[in-house]
Subunit: 335 residues, 2 copies
């Protein structure tokens, strides 16, 4: 069965989406003449500032291009749906945001992205642009703790990129921006739950099968297998499962502070996200952990997949400052 | 077949959602002790200001409570899913936001809402609070032009409430606030398209049937019948159908200005909304109409329904000022 989408030709979906984004957000972002898949902040890049280039496959909107703007990312390289951008748009983004202080590459830890961003870094090295790379690996379910370097990056990207973008905007050195980005990633934990598959614009076929009463804890944002497939549980039970998993690694002490993100994978509406958020806050209160700030909504999606993820960032004073730092992006702002 | 939702007991969904909203947005909104379905802005209401009370059924989040905050609505009365709030929370909201200059009631034109808000207005009149009511009727498909008073309010609420909230925040008189609210409604046009039904938390049954290749232009946000059920078309064709319908009534002249809202009804993702937005802007450019500002995202939903709506507000200088006026709400802000 073909799924229903409001699109024209499937192969045109990404470029037509970009057209619509430029139409809506021309005051914040622009597209480079040199590469139509390079989206650059109008007000972010400047001389002496470390540039922040993010990117990845399409289909996760508002990730990644929604987070391009002053105070967060300087540019995003756009891939096809669920596919890494090739080196070219990454290279053009890098050149466009280089302010002479080096460029930070940040993206989720997926093989295709690593290959293409690394290739871009080699190319721009010939133009004397120094690139450092920090991969996000916040998805607890994607590999065991002793293989943390194999974990994927998911919705926690939002906190990790936000912290790094703030460091860059504060005109810190490349060393300092890299250090803060690594710390942000080390202290960010995400677990998701999927209730349905999604379908790609080109095929309109579901990307996996799931029973009418099933859910899968820990499923990845491209349908990568999670920890367990089981009957659908209540919001509180699902949230507890996720929070237990996060607490198991984060081990927050009484009085510690966190930032909370409850994220929709696509078609799960705000009502359900806020019901989950209620339970997240209950659990944090019980443990004596202070919530510094909460975001609830769609930050990293998988097209129209039903499901949600919960992310906690274990704050210290430095990361708190980065999270609170103002930013003004096409699809997100902090005042 | 029961639909999948991340909830606990269906009957608790609305109150648990409100708990989660208060946990996330306690700096912006509060719940009244006198009625747990009354959500009030922390920073909006003040002496001498016309109070703006909005409200309606749950399941349309971020409508309506997401638009409570300084510069927009002072309070929202919360109903059960797809059901009007009873008079009590409306009355308590009214008393809480009354600054001695009168209170404006604004909500979509649905029989249950009209009955309950009118009853509340009668009750608070005994406390010498003067209430004026402006119903939103932006849904073109819901009744013919010569019966415009029968039309329902849908996503255009966002623009209409925004304009009225700005007028109130500018400390204009009740007469002026009412006049601007009516003008905002008169100049706002919405048409939606539905691709799937949704299901209520209590029943988890689809609220109507729709074929695998069907869409319905003009369907209401509770599944009210639209203008026509037909095979799914391309994004451009759907957008053209909607824009033609809006242009037919708005009749914008060359050089006129509009605000654009492309709204998801629930599970339709940003990619598809931006593809529609691209076509909206193409059509406006072709006609020589200037776009003052564009919003794309979820502003008035129907739980997890697939589909979208397009709203245009025909701006004049006064409405432009109201749309640009800053506001700071739980789920929306303008700087």
């Amino acid at each position: 069965m073909a799924t229903k989408k409001i699109i024209n030709k499937g192969d045109d979906a990404v470029d037509e989406m970009l057209d619509g984004i430029l139409d809506a957000h021309a005051d914040t972002v622009m597209r480079l003449d040199s590469n139509k898949r390079s989206i650059v902040s109008r007000n972010g890049p400047r001389k002496g500032k470390v540039g922040l280039v993010i990117g990845g496959g399409s289909g996760h909107e508002p990730s990644f291009l929604g987070f391009v703007g002053k105070g967060l990312a300087d540019a995003a390289a756009i891939g096809n749906v669920f596919a890494s951008p090739p080196p070219d748009p990454i290279i053009e983004c890098t050149k466009a945001v280089d302010g002479g202080a080096g460029v930070l590459y940040m993206y989720g830890n997926y093989a295709g992205d690593v290959m293409n961003f690394d290739m871009a870094a080699e190319m721009v090295a010939m133009d004397d642009i120094e690139v450092r790379t920090v991969l996000s690996t916040d998805d607890i379910a994607s590999a065991p703790l002793n293989e943390k370097h194999k974990r994927r990056g998911v919705a926690g990207n939002f906190f990790i990129f936000k912290a790094a973008g703030a460091a860059c905007d504060k005109m810190l050195s490349l060393d300092e921006c890299e250090r803060i980005a690594r710390k942000a990633n080390d202290r960010t934990y995400t677990v998701g739950v999927a209730l349905s598959p999604c379908s790609l614009p080109q095929t309109r076929k579901w990307n996996f099968e799931m029973g009418d009463d099933e859910m899968e804890i820990g499923m990845g944002i491209h349908g990568e297998p999670g920890m367990s497939r089981e009957p659908l549980q209540t919001a509180d039970d699902i949230t507890d499962r996720i929070i237990d998993k996060i607490f198991g690694e984060m081990a927050p002490a009484k009085g510690d502070r966190v930032a909370v993100l409850v994220n929709s994978l696509g078609s799960t509406p705000l009502m359900e996200l806020y019901i989950m958020n209620r339970r997240v806050h209950q659990r944090l209160r019980e443990r004596g952990v202070e919530v510094h700030k909460t975001w609830v909504g769609t930050y990293c999606s998988s097209l129209e997949m039903a499901g949600a993820s919960i992310t906690l960032m274990h704050l210290d004073d430095e990361l708190t400052g980065m999270i609170d730092h103002p930013c003004d992006c096409a699809m997100f702002s902090v005042k």
